[in-house]
């Protein structure tokens, strides 16, 4: 039983979270021709935008309803209406994804009916553009929740409901927000190698992979098409990656009856084996040679890599599903989770994290709890703690703004697990401490004689 330690501090120190509307916008960015719209004041949008740009090094379409003082007092419906119409004329998006912020939610705006009114009033003008709403106040949740709500909103708002004729080879995949561009690409390749036709929602691999289009596009380019979202109900099977995507999958199931299977993580040999077995069963195809080869490479990576992992103490701060993904990866390699910090206590996955306890908190908590660990695992903001503690940092999640190419790092399936092993082992090797007489002196203050776990003799 994992103990969930609730946050008792009043002051968050070096936040771990990014806000919920950012997560929703992130999901909308995985749809072709999309324009996420923050319903709030200008700053809500610009901060999120800057963070996206720093992470992806891309121009990110993200707009704001620019709530001002008057709108805040009198209500934001007009601003929302104006913003939607403006976006429609200026950028001709196929999807406008409205993400509410704390400001309008605190006002208690009925955004759903506002949007319904706009659609009714401007049905003709808005033809060819879907408008969906995700209620994502900043004061609740974090990226995961926002992402999942946006996906559920798209399914509810766009997917044609009712029982449909199923296409036996069509697979709907709902990936969690912890999957990178490279992960999604690789996932598609893997599914296709079984002769299946995956529809991935959201598909950031099409839109945030850094391709250079031959013209200036003001919306997203690439990603899941609105038409594909509409036809999700014809999939034979839905596969969900990450516990936070269970809710959107349930929504899809409720609307269309498409059955779903949840994979809480696709990192680690066993999890991938289970996934591959499912693909094989669904497709009726044998496991392709390429996939077998990747599995063998992972086996070898496990063998070669495990020397660097055994007995290491790892401190992780990440959103719940990513925390689970990484914590199970590390413990599967013989590490021990010295500290686990996450953003919210709402996720059921926390009960499965292989740690004695999970702290709901921030990077300030991580810095305190990680003392004596061998590796910090969190996003770029962990770099200060890393320097102060003298513990190397492995950058994961969002945002990663001080390294290039984080979206192209593979973290799932056989190859992603293999790459993670090498990444971590290389961090350990790059940070070896040379042995010193002082550290090895047998008369130094000895730890408990029967201490099995930690040894000052371990150098890397």
């Amino acid at each position: 039983m994992v103990r969930i330690l609730r946050n008792t501090k009043s002051a968050a120190v070096n936040p771990l979270k990014s806000s919920q509307p950012l997560g929703a916008a992130f999901a909308f960015l995985g749809v072709e021709g999309a324009m996420p719209l923050f319903h709030g004041s200008q700053g809500c949008t610009s901060f999120a935008l800057v963070l996206f740009v720093r992470h992806f090094k891309e121009a990110i379409p993200l707009q704001t309803t620019a709530m001002d003082e008057v709108a805040t007092i009198l209500g934001g419906a007009d601003h929302l209406e104006e913003a939607i119409l403006n976006l429609k004329t200026r950028t001709k998006p196929k999807l406008i994804g409205v993400c509410t912020t704390a400001l309008v939610e605190t006002r208690g705006e009925d955004c759903a009916s506002d949007i319904a009114n706009v659609k009714l009033k401007h049905a003709e003008e808005l033809a060819g553009t879907e408008v969906v709403l995700a209620n994502t106040p900043d004061f609740g949740g974090a990226i995961e929740e926002g992402w999942a709500k946006a996906v559920a909103a798209m399914i509810e708002g766009i997917t044609r409901s009712g029982a449909r004729t199923r296409q036996p080879k069509k697979i709907a995949i709902l990936p969690g927000c912890n999957l990178t561009v490279a992960d999604v690409e690789h996932l598609r390749d893997m599914v296709e190698s079984f002769g299946l036709k995956p529809v991935i929602l959201p598909d950031v691999s099409g839109s945030l992979d850094g391709t250079v289009p031959d013209r200036w596009v003001t919306t997203t380019y690439g990603g899941t098409s609105v038409e594909e979202i509409r036809e999700l109900g014809t999939a034979a099977q839905c596969i969900v990656i990450g516990e936070h995507m269970r809710h959107p999958a349930k929504t899809l199931h409720g609307l269309t009856g498409v059955p779903y299977a949840v994979f809480q993580s696709l990192t680690g040999l066993k999890a991938v084996d289970r996934f591959v077995s499912l693909l094989s069963a669904v497709s009726g195809a044998a496991v392709p040679d390429g996939v077998r080869r990747h599995r063998a490479q992972l086996e070898d990576a496990l063998l070669d890599g495990h020397f660097h992992f055994g007995g290491k103490r790892i401190a992780i701060a990440a959103e719940p599903d990513q925390l689970y993904q990484l914590a199970t990866f590390f413990t599967g390699m013989g590490c021990e989770i010295a500290a686990a910090v996450t953003t919210t206590d709402m996720s059921k996955i926390l009960q499965k994290v292989p740690a004695d306890w999970v702290q709901i908190g921030d990077l300030g908590d991580l810095e305190v709890l990680a003392a004596g660990a061998d590796l910090l695992v969190t996003h770029s903001h962990g770099r200060q703690a890393s320097r102060r503690l003298g513990i190397p940092l492995m950058r994961v999640g969002f945002p990663i703004f001080d390294r290039l190419g984080s979206q192209h790092k593979l973290t799932i399936l056989y190859r992603g697990t293999r790459d993670l092993i090498f990444d971590v082992a290389n961090i350990f090797q790059a940070n070896q401490h040379a042995p010193t007489p002082e550290a090895l002196d047998p008369f130094r203050k000895r730890e408990m004689p029967d201490e099995l776990r930690s040894s000052p003799l371990t150098r890397h």
Binding site: R166, P168, A236, Q237, P259, Y260, A261, V262, F263, Q264, G268, L269, K270, D273, R274, V276, S277, L278, S280, A281, V282, S283, G284, A286, V287, R292, R295, E299, D300, L302, L303, D304, H306, F307, F309, G310, G311, T331, G332, M333, G334, A434, P435, T436, P437, A439, L440, D441, P442, F443, R446, P449, D450, E451, L452, S455, L457, T458, R459, H460
Partner: protein, 496 residues
């Protein structure tokens, strides 16, 4: 007879070597290295052996007079640790080109290289290693070194151990000869004391001698020179004023130990810091030798007190691993480490030794191992990789301890493996080192990856897969959803 072959004859006829003493006159003359079998030889050459022995002297510039391969392919590959200078890890080679060889410019290039090193790094000494090519083209490194030493006022030491001379072991001995001829005794210390000792053949791998040295410090024993681990040139040069010496590990430096006894009356014993009992025995022997040489006998009691205290701590720490390691089967496949004391400690905590190689063990060691193991069959000289693989893949051992060369035999047989030779990452000497070794064994054996890699892919092993699924019937909704599909065929899907 050239001076090199005379030297080789000399080091082969080692009166202090048990094996050599046991031979008849004719066999003795043939020397101790077995002739190499082309196509089936393993291990390094004489140059390699000489460099291994000398390179850990930390403040010396080690200059390899050779085309690139000798140094370029081998530098920075060993984990000896230094508490100060790092020059030993900087690689120097004359990198002879075809033109150098054809035009006979090797000697001049060498001389210039020594000057450049002196100008840039100002080391207390330069060691110059001859190699196959420079020996073949007849470069007289002794003459060059002599001239450079005079000209630059610097110790320049020729190490005459070209690879073609023979094996690594021979190179070890030739390196020792070079130290005897050119280094040891060249500096007279002004601080000689009755508790000064030399440690010979200790390499300070991963800093492991620092697990032992504080024990000696506590007894008031000073290590005049540890050759070569973490040594300074001046320590080695003044090593002849120590009162006693311990020769560590294999008999690689036995000629050094014996000749230092002959020349400077420094008695020595052969010992090991691996394992608890051996460490204690080594401390005891050091104290006894010092007393014999005139030190106060009270040191004997102090030594016993320290041993008792340290052994108790170490055994207590080891005891904590008994629960986790009892009954685990160990295969020891190593030459260098004197394994019997390690064997003793492992068995003491309930581990079982299913085999040990005795390739480099002395007759006495073999007897000890035999007594401990009770079954001679578990001793083997050397095992071919194929046999080793077969043995390990049948899971006849829970872990193999060996050197890097057989690492992949173990890994490909999906068997835990721990490096206990020179490339290892962890210090294993002394009392704490033995605890560390056991800790590493524990980590290796219990790493969860073994469960993962040993199981076949589920699609290759249907019955096991089904068992697996059945056993998860009561699991989460996730698993149930999966079972539903894994159990169904694609056809049934399309019918829905």
């Amino acid at each position: 007879m050239t001076s090199l072959s005379a030297k080789i004859q000399d080091v082969f006829d080692e009166p202090a070597c048990d094996t050599n003493r046991g031979k008849d006159a004719k066999a003795r003359k043939q020397g101790c290295s077995k002739p190499l079998t082309p196509g089936a030889a393993a291990g390094g050459c004489a140059f390699d052996g000489a460099k291994i022995v000398l390179q850990p002297i930390t403040d010396v510039a080690h200059l390899v007079h050779a085309p690139l391969a000798c140094e370029g392919n081998s530098w920075d590959n060993r984990g000896a640790a230094s508490s100060g200078p790092t020059l030993w890890r900087t690689s120097f080679t004359t990198d002879l080109t075809e033109l150098d060889v054809v035009m006979g410019q090797g000697e001049r290039k060498l001389f210039r290289a020594i000057r450049e090193i002196k100008d840039t790094y100002a080391p207390p000494a330069v060691f110059v290693y001859s190699t196959c090519v420079t020996a073949l083209i007849g470069d007289d490194i002794e003459a060059v070194c002599k001239r450079a030493a005079e000209k630059f006022g610097l110790a320049v030491v020729p190490i005459n151990a070209p690879g073609l001379a023979g094996s690594k072991n021979l190179g070890n001995k030739l390196a020792a000869e070079a130290l005897l001829d050119h280094v040891i005794g060249t500096v007279e210390p002004d601080d000689a004391r009755p508790y000064d000792i030399n440690i010979l053949g200790e390499f300070n791998l991963s800093g492991e001698f620092w697990l032992v040295k504080p024990l000696l410090d506590r007894l008031g024993i000073r290590v005049r020179a540890c050759i070569p681990g973490d040594a300074r040139y001046i320590d080695v040069a003044s090593a002849h004023r120590a009162r006693a010496a311990m020769m560590v590990c294999s008999s690689a430096l036995i000629n050094l130990a014996r000749k230092m006894e002959e020349r400077w009356d420094i008695p020595f014993f052969e010992g090991s810091f691996y394992g608890i009992t051996d460490t204690s025995e080594a401390l005891r022997n050091i104290a006894e030798l010092l007393v014999k040489k005139g030190a106060d006998a009270e040191i004997l009691d102090r030594t016993e007190t320290l041993i008792a205290e340290q052994e108790a701590i170490a055994w207590k720490k080891l005891e904590a691993y008994r629960r986790r390691l009892q009954g685990k089967r160990v295969l020891l496949n190593t030459g260098g480490v004197k394994s019997w004391s390690v064997v003793h400690a492992l068995m003491e905590i309930g581990m079982e030794i299913v085999g040990t190689s005795v390739k480099k063990s002395t007759v006495e060691d073999k007897e000890r191992i035999k007594r401990i193991l009770k079954d001679e069959n578990h001793m083997f000289e050397q095992m071919a990789a194929r046999d080793l693989y077969a043995m390990l893949s049948k899971h006849k051992a829970d872990i193999m301890l060996s050197g890097g060369r057989t690492q992949f035999v173990a890994l490909k047989a999906k068997t835990p493996w721990l490096d206990i030779n020179q490339e290892r990452q962890h210090p294993y000497a002394g009392y704490d080192g033995m605890v560390e070794l056991v800790r590493q064994i524990d980590l290796a054996i219990h790493n969860p990856i073994w469960g993962q890699v040993r199981e076949p892919a589920p699609w290759d092993c249907q019955p096991a897969g089904e068992d697996d699924l059945a056993s998860r019937k009561n699991g989460t909704a996730t698993v149930n959803a999966f079972n539903e599909f894994a159990g169904a065929t694609a056809h049934r899907f399309s019918d829905r």
